[in-house]
């Protein structure tokens, strides 16, 4: 018997086969292989552009968003089929976007009809690249103490202040930004606004990281005029929007702990290449072998927990603070994985720029993971949330 889902699978497979260029079925190797979209698409290869446009035109960059906002209008089951069929031909993600993973869900929940119509289709087609203006030099873990001000000037807000750790701010077209609209109220004095990074008074400065990369920037606002229609949600209620968005961000980051639990364990492959096996066919470093095996226990158990968490989310029975637990465990696990990966690879992985090390890929990734437990709320902040909201320990 052929079900609707079978038919959908067949059609999807045929469409992907016809529309996904061969170059887009190769694993991502360097930063340049990841497509971010945006106003300036001159850096994209023809294949990258073709793939992003093809998927965007069908709404399949955001398959489960409503069609009227540029989404694919697919059910959860159809979305799963699409992901499976993409994985089957090893198709790359057509578009990386903070618009998709962060702003979009917040706009769907809190945006006005006009905002949804204006921004969501652009996000789906990868036409605007977004960055997130949350952290400030003195408002990191205590995000709600942020000071960047937005003064009411009638038809617009006048924004002044500084943000930090703004990912790819130097490459972004627009920013979604938390600003203070009431100084007398810490949490209920914050508003959520959107504006163009080309607006006069906006400037950015990259921050070089320990990994040798600069994905983050300092961002400065000097008398930036933001039209009032770009306020998302109610005035002074931006903290609700921010929290909702942070939940999505934490879920996304917690997924990092899941890498490498498949058959070809990169930890084992790395260790086999550098250390080899003993006469019993076991890794010749028994302590490293034991560390890898015990790590695998946790990684596989966490994979089960992720499955359970998603099932509970879908059924509406997950504790609202559970993303904090997922974020905490996933990022700590990911750091442990990379620590072991470096240990398994030995000096091969330490070569910072050599061809053999793919330009120091593992070392840079290892250093990058150290930020996992800092960004999106530090591990300590997540533990505070678990202690107070789940275990209900006293203040």
């Amino acid at each position: 018997m052929t079900t609707d889902l079978d038919t959908f699978r067949k059609e999807t497979r045929a469409w992907l086969e016809a529309n996904c260029p061969p170059e887009m079925r190769e694993p991502i190797r360097t930063e340049k292989d990841a497509v971010w979209g945006g106003r300036d698409q001159s850096d994209l290869t023809p294949a990258q552009k073709q793939w992003m446009d093809a998927m965007g035109s069908r709404g399949w960059t955001v398959p489960d968003w409503p069609r009227e906002y540029g989404g694919g209008g697919l059910s959860a089951a159809e979305t799963k089929v699409l992901r499976e069929e993409m994985a089957a031909i090893r198709a790359r993600n057509p578009l990386n976007s903070f618009g998709i993973s962060m702003l979009g869900p917040a706009l769907l929940k809190y945006g006005t009809e006009a905002q949804k119509k204006r921004f969501l289709p652009e996000i789906a087609r990868g036409e605007i690249r977004w960055c997130q203006g949350y952290s400030e030099p003195n408002a990191g873990s205590d995000l709600a103490s942020l000071a960047t001000s937005a003064e009411d000037k009638g038809d617009h807000f006048l924004v002044n202040g500084q943000k930090i750790w703004t990912s790819y701010a130097d490459k972004a077209d627009w920013i979604f930004c938390l600003v203070r609209t009431d100084r007398t109220n810490k949490h209920n004095g914050i508003s959520f606004v959107l504006f163009d990074m080309r607006t006069p008074g906006v400037s950015t400065k990259p921050i070089l990281l320990i990994s040798g990369y600069s994905p983050f920037c300092e961002t400065f606002f000097d008398n930036v005029k933001v039209p009032k229609e770009n306020l998302v949600g109610e005035l002074n209620k931006g903290w609700d929007v921010a929290k909702y968005l942070l939940g999505h961000e934490r879920e996304m980051i917690s997924g990092m702990g899941l890498g490498g639990t498949g058959g070809k364990n990169p930890l084992v492959l790395g260790a086999l290449a550098t250390i080899g096996v003993d006469h019993d066919g076991k890794l010749a470093d028994p302590l490293l072998r034991a560390q890898i095996a015990l790590f695998e226990v946790r990684a596989k158990a966490f994979a089960a927990q992720s499955e359970r968490f998603i099932d509970e989310l879908k059924a509406g029975r997950a504790h609202p603070a559970q993303p904090s637990m997922m974020k905490y465990y996933g990022t700590e696990l990911n750091k442990a994985r990379y620590e072991l990966l470096m240990s398994a690879g030995g000096s091969d992985e330490l070569e910072w720029e050599s061809e053999a090390s793919n330009g120091g890929r593992e070392a840079r990734a290892w250093l990058r993971t150290k930020a996992n437990s800092i960004e999106g709320g530090t591990s300590e902040v997540q533990l505070n949330i678990i202690a107070k909201r789940i275990l209900e320990l006293p203040a």
Partner: protein, 375 residues
Amino acid sequence: MPLFLNDEQTMLRDTAKDFVAASAPVSHMRALRDANDATGFSRDLWKQFAEMGFTGILIGEDAGGLGLGHVEAGVVLEEIGRNLSPSPFLSTAVAAVEALKGTAQAERWFPGILAGETVAALAIDEGAKHRSTVEMKAERAGNGFRLTGKKQFVTHGHVADLLIVAARTAGSAADEQGVTLFAVPKDAAGLTATPERLADASLAARIAFDGVEVDADAVIGEVDAGRDPLNRLLRAGRTGAAAEMLGVGGGAMDMTVSYLKERKQFGTLIGSFQALQHRAAHLYSEMEVARAAVLKAQQLLDAGDDRAMQAVSVAKAMTGLATTLSVQEGVQMHGGMGMTDAFDIGFYMKRGRVLAEMFGDSNFHADLLATTAGY
């Protein structure tokens, strides 16, 4: 199938929770210990387990059982663990039943198990650490076999009506084939069971088989092919022990979190100290991850999925790690009170250690995972 309990399983859990908490709370275990009880558990309680239908959870409906699965058995085991209830449930209604299932021996032993009259013990370990090697000999003699050798860490071994014994009928210790599983009645001549009290006050026997003669029909399954029923027994026992440990770790965590909310030092509730909050939150995370691993293993076992073996090892290893953390933190956060016999938290530490060792500890299962994965 979603990775959480369905409505029927949730109802069973609520029933088991109320029943075990009412009939065998920690004070029940303490009373048995204080009385130096020679059996190690209450036969009356075992009868009540049968009346609740619990002893037949894994027995098919055609044989008079409930025909349920490892998820349901685990639900009961978790409550046993949470209340530290001494019970032959794991060895008898879970591991032994799985070994006997589908063999000629089922007919003989299932009625007694269903009635709460029969207790089974597992004579599978030959040393202080759980291993897959089997050295004990079973030689053909007359119409049956003669068993010679030693086993240890046999829970309830001194009072069990039935001993499930793994012995070698061919090959040498490490060989996969050549193992046969036997159902040995307790009154067999030449069998000596010496009960030893363990750290958690439970009793486990050292058993000597001095030419114990059994009939050919004592064989569970096929001669030389005992790995099949033995593996069924081990998968069920390991998953069950993980579920019981989840109860021990969860029970200890609940006690500890409650204590943090009521105990004052320096004029304030100690649960408000961030140093303790972070450790409690970390502990919670480890227990959640362990819970998911156990449920995953149970569901895969019930589905007859090929990935069950690996999931069982993950579950046993992960609960070993998480529960050890839970009982350690439990005693530590209770401070000096945690060191006293009058407080229950120490019992959790002892029971957690026994269950961590049973059917292979975290290192054993991590090693098994690595070996299976080929490194």
